[in-house]
Amino acid sequence: MDLLDLIDLIQALTDGVLFGTTYALIGIGFTLIFGVMHKINLSYAAASIGAAYLSLVLVNLVPAPIVYLGAALAGGVLGWLIYLICFRFIPLENPLATLMSTVGMLLAIEELISHLTLGMPQNYPALFANSNLEFGSFFLRGDLLFIFFLGCAAMFALTMLLKRTKLGLATRAVAQQATAAQLCGMSVSATNGATFVIAGLLGGIAGSMAGAAIGVLSPLMAMPLTVKGLVVTVIGGLGSIPGAIIAGLMVGGAENLFQFLRGVSERDIYVMLLLFVFLTLKPGGLFAAPGGRD
Amino acid sequence: MLELQQLSRHFGGVKALDQLSFEVRAGDIHGLIGPNGSGKSTTVNLISGVYRPTSGLVKFKGKDLGDLETDRRVHLGISRTFQNIRLFGNLTVWQNIWAARVVRSEGLKGFRERWLSGASRAKEDAELLLSFGGLEDKRDVLASNLAFGEQRRLELIRAAASGSDLLLLDEPAAGMNAEEINDLELRIRELRKLGRTILLIEHHMELVMSVCDCITVLNFGRKIAEGMPGEIQQMPEVKAAYLGSDLPTAA
């Protein structure tokens, strides 16, 4: 392999890692909800795409950054709605029921989007699409760089929220011991709802990032994003945010690398195989949640 | 029958068990006591195979159990009950006992039992156990619907259903009233008469002093005393371990 091919390889890897922040955010969303409620919200990625769709309303009215903000806010609202519909009224001891209800929600969101847009992909604004940082034949795509920094900003804000605010403390308390948290005066349902809102905000950003990177929004994006998001969550360790971040970047990079090496139709096979490699070597994920002693 | 040699189990920096050694003789009812956190449950988990030792051995009938899986240990002859009851909640009382009993007829030995003497032998055993536990009229009730005392009895007979030579009882008296404890004591004695060896982990001093032949006392994962009930009650280390309160004498 000569130098040019090597540069192309690194290019593919870098682009992938930069885009991987999207997967990282989705992974964080899944893991947040799992960490607090020990449930998986299968409709999360679909809601994220949905939030991006909702922000389309703003497209010709405000500059692009506000559109992304709009997507985040829409995501937060959607997150709360999903909590209300799929989780609030189903007994906690019945994880299968909530799993199924989120599946139902996933179907509903996908179908709703398809109907309202008549199945036509919608263009989504991207920032810095045409400016790149060039280093000879290697360049850092401007739009991907922006997404990367946007993602990092979101993660930083999340960390601040979790570590420095009362809400963050409540989230962590409820995650560890819901009954005791209640006895300390925390409202479990309010905290859970808030967690969904926070995850929704992240998801909205992720959805808009995905739209910006690809240039269009389409309901077909929901399923692959869901699957990749789940893969990221599992590789990172259920309940671990740092794990989701690292795994997200890794999956993003690996995905693009596989695409470069083997083409787009085989790419996902290898991503799944990567998951299995991890499950065999480290079944708990990169940062497994600690097991109880007694 | 059972021998622990220098058994240690660490969880990260915490030494749950530290070089524990003791022996349980066949046919004995052997008590294992100690304050909370002294390592009693860890010991049971190590013997039954739920945990693996960090160092040291568990020897059963002279053989080192090593890395043997929990279910294989049951077939060798060790069964246990749980401190927080772990019944098969959605199965009936009968099915709970049956699940443990039917597993015995596996392999060649089981083949003979099933086809030559028929499944009736297993059914008989299960019926016997059902009446032993006093649960005949509850046989079709779901385990999760039983009263607490009945659940504890079911745990006991389910463990006995495995036909094991060594029964590990993990705080079987927890939450019981005086009458239930008397019942429990009778059942434990009955099981010993039927040839089982019993390792009893308990907090209930009266029960322990009354029923045990020999007692090992743990504190902070180490053995601090061992002997017959009468001796144990006199030992200052034991009293100190329980924060200086005097131990009640046997009833």
Binding site: I85, P95, L112, E266, M272, G292, D294 | Y51
Partner: protein, 317 residues
């Protein structure tokens, strides 16, 4: 009339799919891999009859056995993964299978040109039934006799020691182990049997549809597969069948007049059913609570986390 016969065929095929998931769910493993085994059975059986002129019986059997073998191979590593991780892992597995067939091309010369799987274009020309003059009625008879056979098999297993062991494991793995039950044998066998049934269903599906493609075998199908036993209630086999009839018959076909809004309503309906009757339409489920709450463990800690202290549901005695 033909319409109803066709509907009955679909219900039959989905019943088999649901029964295969019932099997695996009994041991407490939530597996979204049934769609993958379905696909293996479909492609293999289809290829054997259309490309190599095998008789239907052998083709179906081979499809089922192969799916079973793959299921057993998957079953072993799946032992180390619990709860939600297993859901994700099995989803990923099913996706791999789907993507494999998306890329799979193998065509041979047939009586009317090339026949065989053609990657993303799918696999057409599985014309065993039309070519051999099977009527709709006969097809139904075949499908439903297979359903009956599988139900009898599963009912027999359920009553036997195998069933008791499966249920015990589904209730509490640790307690089951401490009662002497061999987890590996039981869980892998459940996986294998479930895989075989799904493979059989797939084989029939391929011949019923005459044209299959990777999109048929996506996550949606896998979700249907576990939805049937969950909606119908795990306690009885009939629950699954009734759930299939309910979903396929009433929901999808009965709501035909709603046209394209059917799927949306289906999604909404699932949500509603789960809110109103979380344990399924028929009797309560088999102790699945706590099962999905367990994250995977490090191999060193073999003990499950203590059960959550929430109150159990009340059953009819």
């Amino acid at each position: 009339m033909d319409f109803y016969l066709g509907l009955a065929q679909v219900i039959g095929i989905h019943s088999l799919l649901g029964l295969s998931a019932w099997c695996v769910l009994h041991t407490g493993q939530v597996s979204l891999a049934q769609g993958g085994f379905f696909a293996i059975g479909a492609y293999l059986a289809g290829m054997l009859t259309s490309m190599f002129q095998w008789p239907l019986g052998y083709a179906l059997a081979t499809g089922a056995v192969s799916a079973c073998a793959v299921a057993i191979a998957i079953g072993f590593p799946a032992l180390r993964i619990k709860g939600l991780m297993l859901v994700v892992a099995t989803t990923a597995f099913a996706e791999i299978i789907r993507l494999f067939f998306f890329n799979f091309k193998w065509r041979v010369a047939g009586p009317e040109g090339l026949v065989g799987p053609d990657g993303s274009l799918g696999f057409g020309g599985i014309r065993y039934f039309p070519a051999n003059g099977w009527s709709s009625f006969e097809l139904n008879a075949l499908i439903w006799s297979l359903v009956a056979m599988v139900m009898v098999l599963l009912a027999w297993l359920d009553r036997s020691r195998v069933g008791t062991m499966w249920r015990a494991i589904g209730e509490d793995e640790l307690a089951a182990q401490c009662a002497g039950i061999n987890l590996t044998a039981a869980k892998v066998s459940a996986f294998g049997i479930g895989g075989a049934i799904a493979g059989l269903a797939g084989g029939i599906f391929a011949h019923y549809a005459t044209h299959i493609e990777h999109g048929n075998f996506g996550i949606l199908l896998a979700t249907f597969a576990i939805a049937y036993p969950i909606l119908g209630g795990l306690a009885s086999l009939w629950g699954t069948i009734i759930a299939v009839i309910f979903v396929q018959g009433f929901l999808l076909e009965g709501l035909r007049f709603l046209g394209e809004w059917r799927s949306l309503l289906f999604g909404v309906l699932i949500i509603v059913v789960m809110i109103i009757r979380p344990s399924g339409l028929l009797k309560a489920s088999l102790g699945m609570r706590g099962r999905l709450n367990k994250a995977a463990r490090e191999p060193e800690y073999r003990r499950d986390q203590a059960k959550s202290g929430t109150t159990d549901e009340v059953h009819h005695a």
